[in-house]
């Protein structure tokens, strides 16, 4: 069983190597990519079942036991997030492959895309599974290095500007993370998370607060928490649709996962954290209000992404089992729905030739299926019952209301931010799908895959998007069993004992 835990990291990295070797055959690359991600999804599902039945599955890398050696741990939370992330990655890969086939034909191979895509998947898997702080840093670096290449591939002048902002911000946060690790090691003499949870507890309170704040700042940059979010709406919209979908679905959620893991395991608190509550409320409102001001569809979705990071922070800020469980449920729901929305946005912009909302119109008559594909995730994001967004928000609101007055107030902000999301989405719907049909803009540069409006779309692109919509509907349908799993995960996270005993034995 412990071999299985290493597979989600090993398979994609081996796959990346194979796609470099086989870079002459486009078909082989596609086959490797899809096969690797499909196998990893199955492995993640097995891990989830095993972790749910018998507790965390631990692999000791190199055969050294826990405080000395590096461990990979799959508990309920990480296995669940790994499963949903891999499913989304798989769908996005199908979409990206098909976009490439539509634009360039079946036989052109890409030397960079497939290896980098699989490396990104490696980094994400490692970040979910790793059991120590320094491996988390390495996981972030693998993931971010891959994302730098994806976001600056085939640059032109405007794209290199946003790419530079993204790379520099991410590098700065990585160096801050490294500094945090140095401080943590100097104070405790270990980087193993399970070991840290006992050793940090005996440090002076001031030092504990300093270390906790440093981790919040570091992961807050990666998760796009509000005072540190400015890079996201600037850089994400400039990447091609599948890349943006992947980033929006996975990268920020890995930041949230790291926050969730470190704050509950290493810096636990007895009562709701005032700092995180304020930050969560600000993130929700700033993101939602920012979204209302946008005319660019992708920028609007990016601001909504920032807003919904606030929802996840809120669950963490409540700091009890129900709140953390709500965050876990929300992350699962949001990974699928945000990726879907960016893929649909890609389909819309390919059809209309623009990302400017006021240049679109009347799409509902011409492309009714696209209208449905947009409507379902849009309503899910806003949290209309009976979608998965409603289930997740309900869990957060219940946790907030139960935890006391201050959290109940912020829970009110959750409602307001949801209404603002709904308003933004309805506005997009009216402008894009109703009204008079406008002529599609001519294709600006057909040779550039990143440019919007290549007009041609094919069925697998729709199928991949529809598949993600189906996953999000399945989350809503399986809300009962899923929320019981996240509920148990929340109890585990606050209890800390299952994780620590499984790792340290």
């Amino acid at each position: 069983m412990s071999t299985l835990v290493t597979l989600p990291v090993l398979l994609p990295i081996l796959g990346a190597a194979l796609t470099v070797i086989g870079s002459r055959s486009a078909r082989l690359q596609r086959l490797i990519g899809i096969a690797v991600l499909a196998v990893v999804s199955v492995v993640a599902a097995v891990l989830l079942v095993a972790a749910d039945r018998t507790g965390p599955v631990v692999a000791e890398v190199g055969g050294w036991p826990a405080p000395v050696g590096i461990v990979l741990v799959a508990d309920r939370l990480s296995a669940l997030l790994l499963l949903i992330s891999t499913l989304v990655t798989l769908a996005v890969l199908v979409y990206a492959i098909d976009q490439r086939i539509t634009d360039y034909g079946r036989d052109t191979a890409s030397t960079t895309f497939h290896p980098i895509f699989l490396l990104l998947s490696t980094g994400v898997s490692l970040a979910y599974l790793t059991g120590d702080l320094f491996s988390l840093f390495v996981a972030f670096e693998i993931m971010l290095a891959a994302s730098y290449v994806l976001i600056t591939r085939r640059t032109n002048a405007s794209r290199i500007r946003s790419g530079m902002t993204y790379v520099i911000i991410s590098l700065t946060s990585s160096l801050l993370f490294l500094t945090t690790i140095a401080f943590v090691y100097a104070a405790t003499g270990t980087v193993n998370l399970a070991d840290l949870s006992a050793r940090v507890a005996v440090l002076p309170p001031g030092l504990q607060t300093l270390l906790a704040c440093m981790t919040i700042v570091t992961f807050g940059i990666k998760a796009a928490m509000v005072p540190l979010h400015f890079w996201l709406p600037d850089s994400y919209p400039n990447a091609p649709a599948p890349v943006t979908a992947l980033f929006a679905g996975l990268l920020t959620k890995v930041g949230i996962y790291a926050l969730l893991r470190t704050q509950t395991l290493v810096f636990p608190q007895e009562q709701p954290s005032a700092l995180l509550l304020v930050l969560a409320a600000l993130t929700m409102l700033v993101g939602a209000l920012g979204a209302l001001a946008q005319n660019d569809l992708n920028r609007l979705l990016s601001f909504l992404l920032v807003s919904h990071i606030g929802f996840m922070l809120f669950g963490l800020a409540v700091f009890d089992a129900a709140g953390v469980a709500g965050t876990a449920l929300y992350v699962v729901h949001h990974i699928t729905v945000q990726a879907t929305l960016f893929l649909v946005s890609g389909l819309i912009t390919r059809r209309t030739g623009t990302v400017a909302i006021d240049q679109m119109g009347g799409l509902a008559q011409r492309a009714p299926f696209l209208a449905v594909l947009f409507a379902v995730p849009a309503l899910t994001l806003a949290g209309i019952p009976p979608t998965s967004g409603f289930v997740a928000k309900l869990a957060l609101l219940q946790a907030g209301a139960a935890a006391g007055l201050s959290t109940a107030l912020v829970a009110g902000v959750v409602v307001v931010a949801s209404l603002l999301t709904l308003y933004a989405m309805v506005r997009v719907w009216i402008r894009v799908f109703w009204g008079i049909e406008k002529e599609p803009l001519p294709d600006a540069d057909p040779a550039d895959e990143l440019v919007v409006g290549t007009a041609a779309t094919s069925r697998p692109m729709y199928a991949a998007t529809a598949g993600l919509v189906a996953v999000s509907l399945a989350i809503a349908a399986a809300a009962g069993p899923l929320s019981s799993v996240t509920g148990r995960a929340g109890v585990d996270l606050m209890d800390r004992l299952p994780y620590v005993t499984a790792v340290l034995r």
């Binding site: 290095a145 490294l178 100097a186």
Partner: protein
């Protein structure tokens, strides 16, 4: 754990110089800032393990005379990563220099639009002449920018 005063001063200097350079506009200075900051972080990792001592792999000294091997391993990994990222940033800076002709980090597009809106009408044309050139050069970003019609109309 005790800290060497000299090393602490070196660390403080590295971090302040690094952050100062990071706040500059030229990509080359930012890059040097990141390199300096990376050195600072790696040195901090080294110092986190305690004072220097004998190599942990060889020798037969008593355990307290050996250096802590873990921070050395961590710093080594971090150095490799910082090195790779520096090379990547260099490549990016070169690309920016080829495409744009300078390596200044530009303002946010939205910021520029707001600044244009606040400026009196007469100075608008001057503004597009110098800051708008890099965007208007290529057809791709005209479609990608949020106001394709307005961009096209100005030219």
């Amino acid at each position: 754990m005790t800290l060497n005063l000299g090393m602490t001063i070196v660390l403080a200097v590295l971090y302040s110089v690094g952050f100062y350079l990071l706040l500059q506009r030229s990509l080359m200075r930012i890059l040097i800032g990141i390199v300096v900051l990376g050195h600072g972080a790696n040195l901090l990792l080294q110092l986190a393990g305690g004072p220097p001592a004998r190599a942990p792999v060889l020798g037969t000294a008593p355990p307290e005379l050996f250096a802590d091997p873990l921070p050395q391993a961590l710093a080594l990994t971090a150095i490799v990563i910082t090195f790779a990222m520096t090379t990547y940033l260099l490549a990016l800076g070169y690309r920016s220099w080829v495409l744009v002709g300078h390596d200044e980090v530009q303002d946010d597009v939205e910021d520029r639009r707001i600044a244009e809106r606040e400026r009196p009408e007469g100075s608008m044309s001057d503004d597009t002449a110098d800051t708008g050139t890099d965007d208007d050069e290529d057809p791709g970003s005209a479609a990608a920018s949020s106001e394709p019609a307005a961009t096209g109309g100005r030219r």
